[in-house]
């Protein structure tokens, strides 16, 4: 989900319950206020003679004022104002009522600004309705009998509604237009019905007591209200009906039901709802606006990261700033430099490997070419019907021997060059190793007329290490001694115990060949076969073999020293500690 979508959703998900909760609480509060004011009005009117009238004639309470004839309209209005005002007497408004009405009118302007039906103004509003109703239209409505249809021309005007059955006629608030009442604060008609403690009314026109309100009162509430729907000329009108207990508990008028065809407070709730939604909208816009630069920076960083990756992490991304996005950029730069370092290491390794393979091919091609030359020489002699020269055959054999040794050395070098630690740490039987290495070099030595001898102690000596590497180490030194020796020369390999407890050993290879000058001996030890110039056929004739021997010895903790042999040739000595085994003789014994 994109950042802005997420922010918008969060704003909406957070705001909507708040708006709904506020609206609900506001609606509750307003309903409560309306209930209280309605109770006050009804109670005041009942105490102001209404109770007496009601208890005197509960069957007709509240009697429609127009029944009494005369200025029915005003009577009706007054009847509304006074609730059970019409009791068939047709008397004019009492001065006290008028005074009270005037007093209430005086309060009107103070609340007029918000008198469209908000709860606190509900009471003055009702009063206002009453006061306004008193003013005009006296005698404007012709008298008629109950149930008589009003003149056609007067329909639609609530103030002149001839059908307007007044307070208590049982047909419910048709005397006014709630739409206009809602729109302009025109008087509303509230109908009042009386019931006894058992929720039954003596008035046959009274509606059945609403079940929910009955339950609420029975549950101990003093007043309860609920939405109520009535009809005005076939159109449904939303209103409220109130049920309340009077302070007296007996008689036919102990419970009152007031039905008001006006849901007034709802408009205020609607206003609140709309303003909250508008606030949400503004908040949403503000959040999205604020997220804009962040989204922009993230996009810019993404583009820079892509560029950096495309350039193999050689370019860094912009790190300006002190916020989290800058931290991300710095983290990326750090990771990028690591990746770059790794890439370079891999590339270096790959280059080394490629060079190694190229050099190896070159190293192998040389002896192979020499070998092919020797073999063709033999072929020519045989074709000519003569015996091949002994020297040529010997050289061919030596070259193939060298080739085999070279390949084994390259294999060992590849492992050493790979930087692998010497994983294998097996006990190596040095007696068997010496015998095997000598046996390997003897055939070619015999061809050259070089004698190779060896001596091992009666006890088997072991060293911990990798048998392949150690054997290659020794073979290289012996091979070197044979290879550069002359016909009739000697090579001796001596394995001896050393030290007071025979805990050490010395492995010496000595020859009576040309030897190696001191400075070259040092170079052999110093230099590494890893460098390109130290390859198999270096100009000084010292090849890969001695370098590998030196490296293998070092890795096995053996000291390799080179000196001039008593016969003037070369003596190579390996010294080290022997490995004592719990069970001797794991390998071939000499």
């Amino acid at each position: 989900m994109k950042l802005r979508t997420r922010l918008a959703l969060i704003v909406l998900v957070t705001a909507l319950p708040v708006v709904a909760g506020t609206t609900w609480a506001r609606a509750r509060f307003e309903r409560h206020t309306v209930e209280q004011s309605m109770r006050d009005i009804v109670l005041a009117r009942m105490e102001d003679g209404g109770r007496e009238r009601c208890e005197a004639s509960p069957e007709t309470f509240p009697e429609p004022p127009w029944r009494r004839g005369g200025p029915g309209r005003d009577e009706r209005r007054e009847g509304f104002e006074h609730g059970p005002g019409g009791e068939g007497e047709g008397r004019p408004p009492r001065p006290r009522d008028a005074q009270r009405a005037n007093a209430e009118r005086r309060t009107d302007p103070e609340n007029g600004a918000s008198s469209r039906g908000t709860a606190p103004n509900d009471t003055p509003n009702d009063v206002e309705r009453v006061q306004r109703a008193e003013e005009p239209r006296v005698g404007a409505v012709p008298e008629r009998r109950p149930g008589e249809p009003p003149p056609e021309g007067l329909r639609g005007d609530p103030r002149r509604e001839p059908r307007g059955e007044p307070f208590g006629d049982g047909r419910g608030g048709r005397g006014f237009d709630p739409r206009r009442a809602l729109a302009g604060g025109y008087p509303q008609r509230t109908e009042l019905w009386a019931y006894d403690a058992n929720f039954t009314s003596r008035n046959p026109r009274a509606p059945a007591f609403p079940a929910d309100l009955k339950a609420a009162l029975a549950g101990g509430e003093e007043i309860a209200s609920e939405p109520w729907t009535t009809e005005l000329r076939g159109e449904p009108i939303e209103g409220l009906q109130f049920a309340m207990r009077m302070p007296w508990e007996e008689g036919p008028c102990s419970i009152m039901l007031a039905q008001r065809p006006d849901a007034g407070p709802r408009s205020a709730v609607t206003d609140l709802l709309w303003s909250s939604i508008a606030l949400c909208g503004v908040l949403l816009a503000a959040v999205l606006f604020a997220a804009g630069p962040i989204v922009g920076r993230v996009r810019s960083l993404t583009a820079q990261v892509r560029d950096s990756a495309a350039s193999r992490y050689t370019t860094a991304v912009d790190e300006k700033g002190k916020d989290e996005i800058s931290e991300l950029a710095r983290a990326f730069n750090s990771a990028g430099s690591d990746v770059r370092a790794n890439l370079e290491a891999v590339e270096t390794r790959e280059r080394t490997l490629r060079t190694f393979v190229e050099n190896t091919s070159h190293d192998v091609m040389l002896p192979l070419t020499v070998l092919q030359g020797h073999l063709s020489a033999v072929q020519r002699r045989v074709d000519a019907g003569t015996l091949p020269e002994k020297e040529v055959l010997r050289d061919a054999l030596e070259e193939s021997h060298y080739l085999s040794s070279l390949l084994q050395n390259l294999s060992v070098a590849a492992k050493l060059e790979g930087g692998e630690p010497l994983l294998a740490q097996h006990p190596v039987d040095l007696n068997a190793l010496v015998e095997r290495a000598v046996a390997r070099q003897r055939p070619i030595a015999r061809q050259k007329g070089v004698q190779v001898e060896f001596a091992v102690p009666e006890d088997t000596l072991h060293v911990l290490g990798d048998v392949t590497f150690v054997e290659q180490m020794l073979s290289n030194v012996i091979h070197n001694a044979v290879r550069y020796n002359k016909e009739g020369g000697h090579v001796a390999v001596v394995l001896e115990e050393r030290g007071a407890d025979h805990d050490e050993f010395a492995l010496r290879v000595l020859d009576d060949g040309p030897g190696i000058p001191k400075e070259l001996r040092e170079r052999v030890v110093e230099r590494s076969f890893r460098t390109d110039e130290a390859r198999s056929r270096a100009p000084d004739g010292l090849g890969l073999g001695l370098a590998i021997a030196h490296d293998v010895a070092r890795r096995h903790g053996l000291a390799m020293t080179m000196r001039e042999s008593p016969a003037g040739g070369l003596e190579v000595e390996f010294t080290g500690r022997r490995a004592r085994l719990a069970v001797e003789g794991d390998g071939p014994a000499a």
Binding site: H426, R436, P443, V467, H490, L510
Partner: protein, 226 residues
């Protein structure tokens, strides 16, 4: 080698197998050649002197064959391996192989390795050592050549025994100096050479059996019986 020794060769490569058979036969062995592991498993080992086993085999893996052989007999096994990997060789040795040979190898090298495996001690330790005309009674410190007693000094006698205990093997000069010469006196390698020279003379016709090994020391070589 009074009688022809039988060798079993387990080798799948036809060219190499043929060469090995030829060389072993030439060296005086009777070679039986099987070309896969299953045949090697089925082969009766009784009467064989040695097995030459290639570790890289079709069918049963070479090490399986080795395990099978070891479960049945102690006969020497010489393993052929093209691998330079130490772990395979070490495993083969652990599983009872007596020796191994890395390809490529010289035919001469192979024969030398086989002979080394089959080399039987000509002389015994302790008691007496007898080789051809030479007889050494160690406990009695008596030496005779062609039944004629030879008078030897203590050093000469010890020197002869030291060499005769490991006939065919070169013994390092330094070892002989340390173990044979009188520790009370100044023992140098020059002194040793003098003792050897005297011993050779005293042994007469057997004196030539003691040879000087260049760069190493001395060796007693008993000529093959005729």
């Amino acid at each position: 080698m009074t009688k022809t020794q039988r060798i079993l060769l387990v080798e799948d490569d036809l060219k190499l197998g043929k060469q090995i058979v030829d060389h072993l036969d030439e060296a005086g062995f009777e070679t039986h050649w099987v070309q896969n592991g299953d045949a090697a498993l089925a082969f009766p080992y009784r009467g064989l002197a040695l097995v030459v086993l290639d570790l890289m085999l079709p069918g049963a893996f070479g090490l399986d064959v080795l395990k099978h052989i070891r479960s049945q007999s102690d006969l020497p096994v010489l393993v052929l391996s093209a691998k330079t990997d130490a772990s395979v060789k070490v495993r083969a040795l652990d599983m009872g192989a007596d020796d191994y040979l890395i390809k490529p190898f010289w035919p001469e090298e192979l024969v030398a390795r086989v002979n080394a495996r089959l080399r039987r001690p000509v002389m015994q330790r302790g008691g007496s050592i007898e080789a051809g005309d030479l007889k050494i009674e160690i406990d009695a410190r008596r030496v005779s050549v062609k039944d004629e007693p030879v008078e030897l000094t203590r050093v000469e006698f010890d020197l002869l025994v030291a060499l005769a205990r490991r006939p065919g093997a070169a013994i390092a000069r330094a070892w002989l100096c340390e173990h044979v010469l009188d520790p009370e006196r100044e023992g140098t390698e020059r002194t040793l050479d003098v003792h050897v020279s005297r011993l050779r003379k005293k042994l007469g016709s057997c004196g030539d059996w003691i040879s000087t090994v260049w760069g190493v020391g001395y060796r007693l070589e008993v000529p093959a019986k005729t």
